[in-house]
Symmetry: C2
Subunit: 229 residues, 2 copies
DNA sequence: TAGATTGTTAATCGATTAACAATC
DNA sequence: TAGATTGTTAATCGATTAACAATC
């Protein structure tokens, strides 16, 4: 009964396909081929077909994929066919920034799929009870309670580095399985829990390697254009 | 004379090693082994040694690595031993958020290495001439000019999706080789240019796949704990 | 010296790509 | 039917891991 594990690298491409399918809908054709999907996502047609094959058979040979059907299938696979509530812990500069960002995106896309920024948490008395970008701020003490009641399925960690592990552990204890972590720390992660790290300091530092050397002429061109992540 | 290309996945781990080495310095020992580095970064000791071997020989067999030496070598490799200026285009919600984030991090780490948020750009008359988190906002028209004069080696794109390709192309034309792109679009990227995508919408949507199903009991446990990116 | 740890090679693992039979 | 495009298998590519000789 156990399906073979789907590689995470495949899971990470699915939202990209979904985005293109959602943007595609209005424009005429109700059918799309892996070639067109490839052109619009930057993924090779073969890889798209391989990725989809992990989940079933969605196309017609000689024809392509029905846009609405494939879109609904991807939404179902990603669990975006239901409401998915996210909570954010740590309403500092970064936390507020993310809430504003989320509010911007929510209008466009997040809520088109089932994602909702549902609650924020902080220690600071002055922030509690307030709203940031339309999201209410609760005391961190209520985290376990609200994880279960709302419920919250994804937690975004925008707490200071020192607090990250403690908050993370508390969320895990309350049943959360998926995290987006902005704190620049190595978390101790138990089995079955998925954490994505968003650490811009590391991103920028690694980009410095590829940055132009303005002083002298650049002799060394031993890299190629590539889109990462 | 041409070195073999260093895989990007290796480049992305170097800042992590550098961070640990920088944090390590005060604490007693001036020597660190690949085993300790591994414990602190979550990378296997063998992989750390392999990664470093792309750039030369930095350790002593039977002993380990001199902390200060390895740190300086990594800073040099990543070009963080000199000043690296970054510019940001698009001072909307997300852009301002990033500038505040950068200001926070700058105090701690970014400036410890050579990274500086040096300039911001926007179209909006009301923003131009102002400062956000200590960074001056210039009109986008001055982008090519200031890229060359300051100069700016890394560009952070926080413009709306529609504007991203145009702004990107203009920066490339002015010689920028490294980008951090927050706009949710597939950019057309010429050879020799490195772009990292920071697209939280996609991250959250892929996390939904791993999120707990609260309705029914979760029968399917076909994933493992893993830290990605 | 004996013990420890590097640097590196070879083996393994996993993901991408090529290719094509099936079939609409 | 002929042309197109899927689904899938086999080949390739690249990255990680294991293992160990070199040597401090």
């Amino acid at each position: 009964m156990r399906k073979r594990k789907v590689p995470d690298v495949v899971i990470r491409r699915l939202p990209l396909y979904l985005r293109v399918l959602s943007d595609l809908d209005p424009e005429s054709s109700s059918i799309v081929s892996s070639y067109e999907l490839g052109a619009r996502t930057g993924v090779t047609p073969g890889q798209i077909r391989k990725d989809l094959s992990f989940f079933g058979v969605f196309g017609k040979q000689g024809v392509g994929y029905e846009v609405t059907i494939l879109r609904e299938e991807l939404r179902r696979i990603l669990k975006l066919d239901r409401v998915v509530n996210a909570g954010l812990v740590g309403v500092g500069n970064l936390g507020q920034a993310f809430l504003h960002y989320g509010a911007d995106r929510q209008k466009e896309v997040l809520s088109r799929e089932g994602l909702r920024m549902r609650a924020a948490f902080d220690q600071d008395e002055r922030k509690i009870g307030g709203h940031v970008a339309g999201v209410e701020v609760y005391p961190v003490q209520r985290l376990p309670e609200l994880i279960k009641e709302l419920p919250l399925m994804i937690i975004i960690l925008t707490v200071p580095a020192e607090a990250a592990q403690v908050v993370f552990d508390r969320c895990v204890a309350s049943g959360v399985k998926a995290f987006l972590n902005f704190a620049p720390v190595k978390l101790e992660i138990p089995p079955g829990i998925r954490v994505r790290h968003a650490d811009f300091t590391l991103e920028l530092e690694s980009l410095a390697y590829y940055s132009k050397e303005w002083e002298e002429d650049e002799g060394e061109k031993n890299f190629q254009s590539r889109t990462d992540q």
